[in-house]
């Protein structure tokens, strides 16, 4: 198993290898077998969602077959964040890419459920169950 890239608190927008940071959000990536596990920390909002979008575009461009987004460190997601995830989901349809999200806090899960997105996205209580779903 590849170790996650250490995350540093940075104040400037930057992309350093597989570490992406913004004011409120940090993204890091590791592999669990063949599956990229992307850990997001902080707020996904108007300011930070363009960075997530940019990151996910690289995944859809490379036709990433399976992707796990670990939301354990996500304290808040706004509608632009939801739209960013929907856009990625749309982009994966032609190549039948699989996406799973894990460890959403109750508050973040509410944001998905209030617009019935739990019916579209594969939401899991932890990374193990999400990985199992992606491998099934």
């Amino acid at each position: 198993m590849q170790q996650p890239v250490p995350i540093q608190q940075q104040k400037k927008l930057s992309t350093l290898g597989n570490l992406v940071t913004s004011y409120h959000m940090e993204i890091s990536e590791r592999l669990e077998g063949e599956i990229p596990v992307v850990t997001i920390k902080g707020d996904i909002d108007l300011e930070s969602s363009p960075k997530l979008r940019e990151f996910l575009k690289t995944k859809s461009s490379s036709k990433c077959a399976k992707l796990l987004l670990d939301f354990a460190g996500v304290s808040y997601i706004d509608s632009s964040g939801l739209a960013t995830l929907i856009e990625y989901f749309q982009a994966t349809q032609p190549f039948k890419g699989k996406l799973a999200l894990s460890s959403l806090s109750p508050r973040v899960r509410n944001v998905f459920e209030i617009v019935r997105l739990e019916q579209i996205f594969s939401l899991h209580p932890d990374t193990n169950s999400a990985l199992a779903a992606l491998n099934s």
């Binding site: 509608s79 632009s80 944001v111 019935r116």
Partner: protein, 270 residues
Amino acid sequence: MSETKSTHALEVRGLVKKFGNRTVLNDISFNLKRGEILVIMGGSGCGKSTLLRHLIGVLKPNEGEIHVLGTDITKLDDDGLAKVRRRFAMMHQFGALLNSLTVGQNVALPLLESGNVSESIADLVVKLKLELVGLTGFEHLKPSEISGGMRKRVGMARALALDPELLFCDEPTSGLDPVMTAVIDQLTLDMVHKLGITAVVVTHDMTSAFRIANKMIMLFEGQIIAQGSPDEIRNNPDPRLQQFIKGEADGPIPLKLSRDDYIKRLLSVD
């Protein structure tokens, strides 16, 4: 959402507003905790709309402080006010939609004006917001092609477009049938209970007010005559409050000015 948070979404202290010699708001003080719904009620001309315009920073008081999301907006310049305004939204009484634009374009306006959102993301957010208000699939219609209740819901979708922390609603259920009123009320409750936003609702509709409020304020002639929980308001013996809650024609709330005031106003030259 990550900025410094006080426990109160709103704190108003000693607010006084005068138009000329007339005091329209007199020593208004109250606060509202985050995640609660405040209902402001009172008869026509009691100062509700003037108070609301102060809370959203359109009017500045002669005296007093208005802390919105932890910042005293009475001391801010235009740039500072714009920063706070990005964190709250206003749902106008009649939706205040632009008739030349479609429903979807109306909801997308704040997103595109923010400058941070691409059109494709804005289109998806519009669909999410219309789903929220039960209008999925209506994005291509014009405001003139939908009912008044639908226009109000589009107005709410637009107010929620940027995911505000604090939502101000001016008469959100006026002119709606009881079912649509319940729909709007439930939507307000969902926003607060599920998404954690705070709401300030100005209304005459007592059924709606008691259904949604955590806290209520009664304004009368520019002053707060009662504030408290719905139970405290219901049990408050003030006859002006009871007349308003029960919607009775007879009582201490005057329908007409006194004879002297009437003659004075009739014969005065502005």
